[in-house]
Amino acid sequence: MTHMQKNINLEVLRRVTYLIGSEDLIAKLPNVPAIVPFHDTIIEFLNQVSRVLMGNRAVRAYPDLVTFAFWIRKSSVLKQKERFENNEEAVTLGKGVAFHIAPSNVPVNFAYSLAAGLLCGNANIVRVPSKEFAQVHLLAEAFYQALEQYEELRSYVLLVRYGREKAVNDLFSSIADVRIVWGGDRTIEELRKSPLPPRSGEITFADRYSVAVIDADSYLRIEDKARTAEDFYNDTFLTDQNACTSPRVIVWMGNAIEEAKEMFWEEAYRVVRKKYNFQAIQGVNKLTSGYRIAAAESGVKIRRYMDNRIIRVSIPRITDFLMDYRDNSGYFYEYNCDHILEIRALCDDKRCQTIAYIGQREAVQPLLQAGVKGIDRVVPVGKTMDFDLIWDGYCLPSLLTRTIHLI
């Protein structure tokens, strides 16, 4: 028996519910070998999970699940493998045990975190959302079924659920080689109270905000504006405009800005009206937010497009406190911008994550050259939610593996 195993307090483990796994498997975890990244068995296993998901009619009702099932298909994973292939001078191996804290509010996020952990060759303990999302259940079921054909991977996929209990966090952290914390600042703060072993690393997904930069002239040239409106809806309203990737500010550039705005919102409204489930309090919340910033700054204009579903707040200048006034559920700041560096204050902030663009990606370049502290992703409108192994400024394949130098 190793020193590690003696330290595992079974009493604490009884407070945990296992969707997949058991106390026993957790207790043995420190002795489970790491795997090389993108190992064939893992790729086949994930492909099997994908097949189970795709074969389940219930899954089709959840676009987020279908997207995940596509992402872990063999053909898609092989493309990833190619991107992160080894070089000659080094061998990489999984870190060992990865402990994941999934966000409580996003049903499928934990599965991406788990898949990344697996692909990088780690044994994974994943705390799934506390809320009873149907997607969580369907995913657990698919992983469980696939594991029946991959007995050897049982120690690598452990799905757990427990309250915000420090004792459990302490225990899992004490055996983690890497800790992956989703769920924002407060959750990170909680987890930081549980120490990690000296060699272990941590990846934290903090509270972030995102921005859209739209070149009005490029927008006006788009033929399928209805498609763009759908894309924009998926970036924003689909997650109540409250994901870290959801644009909160729209920066308009180019010549025909007013014309573009009119068409853009008309198209957006059509989709929002059809798809978005508006809750009564949201209108009150957004009016409150609009008045808050209007009280603080002169020249602010609050406009609603048709009704309370879309609230547009135009601001005369970009300030570094703008995002202290951010809101969600269809609350957009709009800024007419002559030169991209005017929004520097918004991006020179570690909370700034994604720039979603319509037009030329290069338009954002001057900001990066200016050395801003924010901006970790620059992606076309419609792609803000697409998960990738490079995410939120982190290259997950490097952070979830260790590199063995061979000379």
Binding site: V106, G184, D240, Q279, L287, Y291, A295
Partner: protein
Amino acid sequence: MSFDEIVRIAPYSLNKREKEELLTKRLLELTEHHRRQCPAYARMLESIGFDEKHVKRYTDLPFLPVRLFKELDLRSVAEEAVVKTMTSSGTSGQAVSRIYLDRTTASNQQKTMVKIVSEFTGSGRMPMILIDCPGVVKNRAMFSARGAGMLGFSIFASKKMYALDDTMRLDVEGLKEFLANYRGQRILLFGFTFMIWQHFYQELMRLKEEGITFDLSDGIMIHGGGWKKLISEAVSREVFHQRLKEVCGLTKIHDYYGMVEQTGCIYMECAYGHLHASIFSDVVTRRPIDFSECTIGESGIIQVVSAIPESYPGHSLLTEDEGVILGEDDCPCGRKGKYFKIHGRLKDAEIRGCSDTYAEKYQS
């Protein structure tokens, strides 16, 4: 138009047209007053492109969400003129409203309250039983809507007693003595709906089984604070009335609706179970989707307007309550004006997002 002119009019005497004319004039003046005196308010009006030329009726005036008073300091008088700052209920850690009163506004609140409540209790002060503990007023840390309600209604007391001690137990001996001392006089009882049920009614029931009874058939009870907790215990207004009558003979029971942000303008419940708007204020129900005005009988978000506030821009507010206007000028009780019902608080938004939500301290 000054408030002194308005306060002379009987609270439920004006019909729709008369009241509309009066309130439109006064509220337009208040809007202009606050625009001049409160720069933050002026900027808010500017942000929505408000133009008073487009105001035909007071319902066309802008409204501020009540929550703004928790987030901003909104004052239309110099800091030195503030004689009292009212705060709303707030459990620890929660933001509270701060309402700044100068002498005029504070005094007009009181005058209004007296005018309205006297319509139900008759004029003159009465011996009063506060169904709560003394701590709720004395202890500043506990000071809340409950405390504010107690203090507000205390102006009707010739003599007052707290029915509960600080452990929320009924002071049986004190109550006996108080009732003996004021036998033959009409007694005013005041408290929060849930407190009355939990700590007064339940205790009277228990005492009755022991053979100890109280006769409050000459009493008049005013209660507020909403029904949320009682509804979860399946206690309706009818049950509440019936049971109190059975246990102590109390028949005159009036609910009221009101808020710290518009103190003075309370909405009293008549014998038909309807909350009434006096001429000093009004309720407007609005559709959540676009804030357009609801028709009579259609549920919506409650907006309240009040002719009183001069020291803070709170004359037109959008609450987070939901309710329905039942009618106007035609309640069988004979009072003019709108009568309505409150359904309760709007539900908090359930929204998705990457950041975990941590339950805030829960508000009653």
